[in-house]
Amino acid sequence: MGFFEFIQDRWPVLSFLAYQHMSVVVQSLILATAVGIVLAVLAYRSSAGAAAGNALSAVGLTLPSYALLGLLIAFISSGVAVSVIALAFYGCLPILRNAIVGLRGVDPKLVESARGMGMGRLTTLLKLEIPMAWPVIMTGVRVSGQMMMGVAAITAYVLGPGLGGYIFAGISRMGGANATNAIVAGTIGILVLAVILDAALNILTRITTSRGIRV
């Protein structure tokens, strides 16, 4: 069976798995963004906190995803839950790093000006610091999105949702009928999803960034 026939034949399954793949990545990405920004807000004000955040981000990214999944599945039986936790963990690291950089990059004169006008700490954060750091934070979100597309494939190891399972199935019956087709279809599917997600995030960044600071 040729590759295109294969795709046509398996389209219902492939499209459903692609949808699952995108869905788990997007949901985990939203979770990761929230966690990453909260951690950054807790850390950015002191240089020790910022250093700790950066160190966590650097060390966390060297952790092999296989190892993390193996570790998590020992405690949590649901493959989907483990997938989401692992994805959010990896995803929040670049966002944490970028959010710290972005928040620390806000001109202290602006912050002082905000405080001098009677804006409280929280108001200053929400109305000045996060909007100003937003383009940098969103760059982190895009990096995370790309990375999570790949990691999501590996979560098939713990029976996570998405196209990873299709690739794994292909690998396990290597040499059998359509094994290569399955691997290639899954891989290309993930690439296409990654491109779509990045384009969507790019548009989202433009919409949510003030015209006054857009480059």
Binding site: E112, A114, R115, G116, M117, G118, K127, L128, I213
Partner: protein
């Protein structure tokens, strides 16, 4: 009809109602001590800032002038002492609420780049929970007050020049109509010509508003020009002299002040005289659309070689020589001369003299509110005024040529 002078007092733009809207500020033994530092940044300073006046804090860098000012809105908490605004001890108030009622303008304006001009100005009114229509009216009012077109409301700070940004900064500081305005080297980051304009505008505003303004600067000339009173500070915010500019120029308290005043006290005293305080002259005037022939006749009748061309709103556009006027229809379309030297009624003679020297004309056009033509000022007027000032200036013996 040979020469007519316009008494400036009659052409003055709508004067403020003269009501003081500011409140008195009293610093009483205020001290700021940082941990692990031997000497205090501000050491036991006491001063009274009268309601409705501009008080300049001047001194070398590191003397504590900015620290002193920031204690008034508690961006820096005093270690000891009391600060009263009106009758209220502000060290007992909620700091955020306090700051919403004190205008704060910093160097480079500190506008939020991600917000439009309108949103920047509306910041404090929004914090105070004003309703939408009231905020909208207030923003329009303030844009008009600082001479910006209403169309600027939707622009972003990076689309404005430095001077325009600073104007918006002043508008933002005034948004909640606070009795007290703190200005921290507000005009330090703009070029000298823009700075001079902004100073003039501030003085014009102050005539209407009569706020209590605390203004920090390291530029003594700015202090003389803008201040009703000047406090000259030394290390630890020690007040060396606190007096009117006239008195400080005429009687510097000690060598430190003398050094600060520098040379040329007479020239500096020119900064105390405004264009409106001297008699202006009439120039030959033509309007866009006038008949060049008639304009020429009018100019010749009062013996002038040049006419000043005004637009339909009496705003000066450019000088034209009688020779240029010989061309028919030359007044039909007149392009504004961007280099045209103009001073306002609130400008100081010092700045006016500077304009004359850079322009190499002996005459500078004077405008009032909305840039309307008021008359011209001549070099001999300034020279005559300097003669008048001579006796006062001769007190400073070190300034003898």
């Amino acid at each position: 009809m040979s020469e007519s002078t316009v008494p400036a007092s009659e052409t003055v733009e709508q004067p403020g109602d003269g009501t003081v809207h500011g409140e008195q500020i009293v610093l009483d033994g205020v001290t700021k001590r940082y941990p692990r530092q031997k000497s205090p940044a501000v050491d036991n300073i006491s001063m009274t800032i009268p309601a409705g006046e501009i008080v300049m804090l001047v001194g070398p860098s590191g003397c504590g002038k900015t620290t002193t000012m920031k204690m008034i809105n508690r961006l820096i908490e005093p270690t000891a002492g009391r600060i009263l605004i009106g009758d209220e001890d502000i060290t007992r108030k909620d700091p955020d609420d306090l700051r919403r009622h004190i205008g704060y303008v910093i160097q480079g304006a500190g506008l939020f780049p991600h917000m439009s001009v309108g949103d920047n100005i509306a910041l404090v009114p929004r914090l105070l929970g004003w309703d939408k229509s009231r905020i909208r009216r207030r923003v329009d009012e303030l844009l008009d007050l600082v001479n910006l077109e209403p169309s600027y409301r939707g622009r972003y700070p990076r689309e404005l020049s430095g001077g325009q940004q600073q104007r918006v900064g002043v508008a933002r500081g005034l948004a909640s109509d606070p009795p007290v305005l703190l200005m921290d080297e507000p005009f330090g980051a703009v070029d000298p010509i823009t700075r001079q304009r902004l100073q003039d505008e501030l003085l014009r505003l102050q005539e209407e508003l009569r706020k209590t303004i605390v203004f920090v600067t390291h530029d003594f000339d700015e202090a003389v020009k803008v201040g009703d009173r000047i406090a000259i500070l030394q290390d630890g915010s020690e007040i060396v002299q606190y007096d009117t500019p006239e008195q400080i120029l005429a009687h510097p308290a000690n060598e430190f002040v003398e050094g600060f005043v520098g040379h040329g006290a007479i020239l500096k005293q020119l900064a105390l005289v405004r264009v409106r305080d001297v008699d202006l002259h009439d120039a030959a005037v033509a309007h866009v659309g006038d008949d060049p022939g008639q304009a020429t006749q009018r100019a010749q009748a009062i013996g002038r070689e040049h006419v000043i061309v005004l637009d339909s709103q009496d705003r000066p556009q450019r000088w034209m020589s009688l020779r240029e006027l010989r061309t028919d229809g030359v007044l039909g379309r007149v392009e504004r001369d961007e280099q045209l030297e103009v001073v306002s009624l609130a400008s100081t003679l010092n700045d006016t003299l500077e304009e004359m020297l850079t322009s190499s004309h002996g005459v500078v056009v004077v405008t009032g509110r909305h840039n309307r033509y008021q008359g011209v000022i001549r070099l001999d007027t300034i020279m005559a005024k300097m003669q008048d000032l001579q006796p006062a200036g001769s007190v400073g013996t070190t300034d003898a040529p």
